[in-house]
Symmetry: D2
Amino acid sequence: MSRPRLRDLGITVGRLPTGPHNAITDVPGVRVGQVSVIYDEPMVARTGVTIIAPREGPVSRDRVFAGYHSFNGCGAMTGLLWLEESGQLSSEIALTGTYTVGTVYDALVRAMQEGYGSHLPVVAETYDGFLNEGPAFHVTQEHVLQAISQASDGPVAEGNVGGGTGMKCHDFKGGIGTASRIAPLRCCNFTVGALVQANQGDRIDLMVKGVPVGQEIGPERVPLPQLGPEEQGSSIIVILATDAPLLPFQCRRLAQRAVIGLARTGSYGHNWSGDIFLAFATGNHLTSTTAEPDTVRMLPNSELDPLFLAAGEAVEEAILNALCAAETMTGQKGRVVHALPTDDLLAIMKRYNRL
Amino acid sequence: MSRPRLRDLGITVGRLPTGPHNAITDVPGVRVGQVSVIYDEPMVARTGVTIIAPREGPVSRDRVFAGYHSFNGCGAMTGLLWLEESGQLSSEIALTGTYTVGTVYDALVRAMQEGYGSHLPVVAETYDGFLNEGPAFHVTQEHVLQAISQASDGPVAEGNVGGGTGMKCHDFKGGIGTASRIAPLRCCNFTVGALVQANQGDRIDLMVKGVPVGQEIGPERVPLPQLGPEEQGSSIIVILATDAPLLPFQCRRLAQRAVIGLARTGSYGHNWSGDIFLAFATGNHLTSTTAEPDTVRMLPNSELDPLFLAAGEAVEEAILNALCAAETMTGQKGRVVHALPTDDLLAIMKRYNRL
Amino acid sequence: MSRPRLRDLGITVGRLPTGPHNAITDVPGVRVGQVSVIYDEPMVARTGVTIIAPREGPVSRDRVFAGYHSFNGCGAMTGLLWLEESGQLSSEIALTGTYTVGTVYDALVRAMQEGYGSHLPVVAETYDGFLNEGPAFHVTQEHVLQAISQASDGPVAEGNVGGGTGMKCHDFKGGIGTASRIAPLRCCNFTVGALVQANQGDRIDLMVKGVPVGQEIGPERVPLPQLGPEEQGSSIIVILATDAPLLPFQCRRLAQRAVIGLARTGSYGHNWSGDIFLAFATGNHLTSTTAEPDTVRMLPNSELDPLFLAAGEAVEEAILNALCAAETMTGQKGRVVHALPTDDLLAIMKRYNRL
Amino acid sequence: MSRPRLRDLGITVGRLPTGPHNAITDVPGVRVGQVSVIYDEPMVARTGVTIIAPREGPVSRDRVFAGYHSFNGCGAMTGLLWLEESGQLSSEIALTGTYTVGTVYDALVRAMQEGYGSHLPVVAETYDGFLNEGPAFHVTQEHVLQAISQASDGPVAEGNVGGGTGMKCHDFKGGIGTASRIAPLRCCNFTVGALVQANQGDRIDLMVKGVPVGQEIGPERVPLPQLGPEEQGSSIIVILATDAPLLPFQCRRLAQRAVIGLARTGSYGHNWSGDIFLAFATGNHLTSTTAEPDTVRMLPNSELDPLFLAAGEAVEEAILNALCAAETMTGQKGRVVHALPTDDLLAIMKRYNRL
């Protein structure tokens, strides 16, 4: 039985309403597919791949405007030079572990034969080498193709799943989390959805609504993972989606707001952290390479504040959803990363009058 | 009699200790000079200029490495192209209101004759046009030269002073604020100091340690300023100083952490906000243009985390210090911006168990 | 009598046709106004201001998409943070000398009362301190307002005029230059216009169509200006305009192509050079801040190559036009900067079979 | 028998002297290893991999400062986020074709077990899909490890070799090219070396010393490759090395000068081109992660001009060396890309008085 999400616990962050699934898939057309790779022989695998597909069909044939921001760049997200130069995302996005970026990249190049992926695919990673044995290539091209073919809308599995399988977050078990917000603009409502692969942070810094939850749950209560010097890696990948008609520079602005959610859960951008954010906007359809000028829609800059607010809130909640969903996991060499104890979380939040 | 600072109220943010003055001047050599320009005839002036001098003498003769980050660029900070290209700051920094950037710029060019300022000076602004009548040029070149000559170390005046005279922040009176942190590195301790000119944000978003203070102090308790459509401007300039021997790219990284302090006080980067951060590092002395390679010191990237943490904490506290220090002010057309009521703040923080 | 332009000499660069005036004003709606400030008492003034107005009326009410690129940032161009954040140019552009940036900035802020200029104006400079006595503020606010009011379409004065009055270029007399190209796209033709304030480069590096003209015209033929250590400044500001419907990131791409024209005339980006390029696109009209999404047009990225080619060619020719137009000038302390001798130029080009 | 290099033909570009091998390996410690993958069954392979090793040993243990610049980003170079954030290059650099980025990436991750490569390797590509059949993964991990182990100093093979095997350049056969310059600084001499994987440009634009060589060698003289709509890809990767003690921001500045060499051979940055430049500086040794500040050397910015000049010249000559060295090649579907005919080149240069 799965663990409750943050809101199921009675904890809300922010002031905007969520979409129906409180997930990135609340943005129409966005789909998520995840394959987890977990086995113990011949090596211990605790890894996987998560695909975010911006469109119902291949995004290479119906591209989206996009932009990115790197808050701290100790990590990889491929394909960004073309994304920035063209203003567009023309590849499905793949999230995986550090060791399997190349394989996933190859798979997305190969997938072009079916219209998916791209010559210049977007593959991002965080480091799962504490639980997951490596360097090794547990994720195969077939896993990636499977994740693409299984991608769907509706609720999104969170925690120990897909690319997030082996991740830790603030010294608890981390992984995939998602959330969404309905942003009330003057003209109409738009949805902003976030999906994170959360592997960042130290216990001491974790906060929920400003409450120092990480300090309140000491190592005597929940043991810390015993990291070696090689395992300092901590990172978070954030994917933001919106159905608002944003231009590329506005997508970049939206991406930059992901840091608000990080800051409010206790991050400050560690040196060894790859805190990389990509935002795409489905409100324009870039389908052709005709010779004629395209007509596209653009929200006036003056209208963007609700979207910016929504992005920060959705990222904050997506991180906390990852922590709530992820279950205790044992990996290589008997190492254990413990789940965030939700009973403790509730008791602490009550003590600070935040329920 | 001046109002208490945040810590005097018994409220602490973050976990690092402060420097002796809890001010940017805790970084050895850094000096601050401020001139406030306040009069009612022939036009209503509620403005001024704040100078941050990185060195005891002219910085043009003993330059510092520097970097910047723009979280949202609806504002001006001149001199950034050369700062980025050269990796260095060779001008005193001036903060003022939107209308007087040009005059202050001219003054810093003129000051070169005494060794101060620069051909390419750094002048930043936030918009004080709600209280301060304009477009008008209340700040003169003489005010700037006076602020340079008065610059000193030691405690820094906060609130309605210098460039911050006419500012508002989260719909309370804002202005200048400062704070510092001692960052414990493995090798030794370094100081990080912040000075802000705080003019950003809406009431509803103000938070202190995660507590929704802005929502708790409604407009029926403290009236909101009645902004016209022309007065949406809201911005914050952050100057960070450290005595750590950082290279330019590391200064940029430090500057980027200012957003952590903004996020934790409720900002998310409004469209009409100029949220611009500059960091300089005094730990290297760039005095000459000899033909020989210079020898400089550089902290390994792996050691930077305490500085990053310190930057976020110092900015957070500097913003709250600006709010605590600023007193209710009446400006043009009888407009009033009210001070944050500290009694209310204390009562609210107690209710959330945060004292 | 004015000197011939490059084409009048029978020298053509590039393979695209020019517009009717071979000037930035060939882009419909673009206007240029220039005021030269030349006197000998009480100080020697050899300076001025050039205004580029993107629209027939104030651009603040009918904004243009824009982008910029800095090839080497030892110079000032104000207003770039907001230009990049908003994707738009909402101020007339002013070019002037290093000492008068602040005054011109103030003038553009004041001009807002008539709808011109901006809170965050765009003012760029190159260093005219070899001929022009300073630090001094020869250009006044009134000069700027005069340049705005005189701005017109049609032919553009080149050489020792406006902001370019006191400039030197490759150790010959430099200043303002302009050129244009008609770019043949598959859908239709668009115009790209360039205006430069040319103050860059050493004699030895000047080339025309690859011919080492600067080396062929030695100091024994035309003396070099005798620069002191304080007068190493050399810079070029490039303004590109097009009527193509480009989005902001495409304007940035266009701006970046200005370097092609610099490279082909012999520049390589000196350390003390401010080589800063701004491009705007008049093909979309951004007039309102309504709540509804705007409809804008966008050229597909695949169609941009002719515009890129046109930008490089127009900048190359604008630089050479500045050199051809500028006449020998005597400035402070009896210093002389000599014009490029066009007879020599023709003889050299003939020797290399390039006429 | 190999074809002559540009200088062997009596054509010199620029005014600085070359290093002993006129190759990137003239920078002490820099090594190059190349494996070409050429076969016809079961698919036609015309591809390979080129390794640039900045140090005699693994660069992960003795890192170099580095920076990059993208002139046009329609291409991939992985690892740039960390390179920019850390200011350092800690991976050998690999150049390959578009289809094999993932495999080469995996190989460099695997090579970490021997100290080579990196968690975040630098892999760049240009598109060889005109001659080379794909999507396919002709380059294997073993090829990469072989190229690393064979890397050596001394002369560097050019033309149809390594990553450059299947490339075309200005509609002639392209590939790998290299060159170097000795830059005379006031303090001492430093070497700048360039290596390019040249796949860029159209015939019509090719110029040598400003001479329109591409226009002079028409398709009736040397046929153009018949590109389909899918084969518009054209790109150039430039790697610059220097033994000067540059800081990261100075490396970025050096990288940006690569565009000078491109411009002078006829490029202007096509939309579908990935023109990506990386520069590293071996003059500092970053070997440890001690807690203490490192001492590093830094050239004053004022001394950089000879290095900037050298970078432009070396890139220009490296591109022309690639064209001179590459031999006519037949690939998939009987497609042929012809070599630049050096006899024609000489005759043309003579006609323009440039020998």
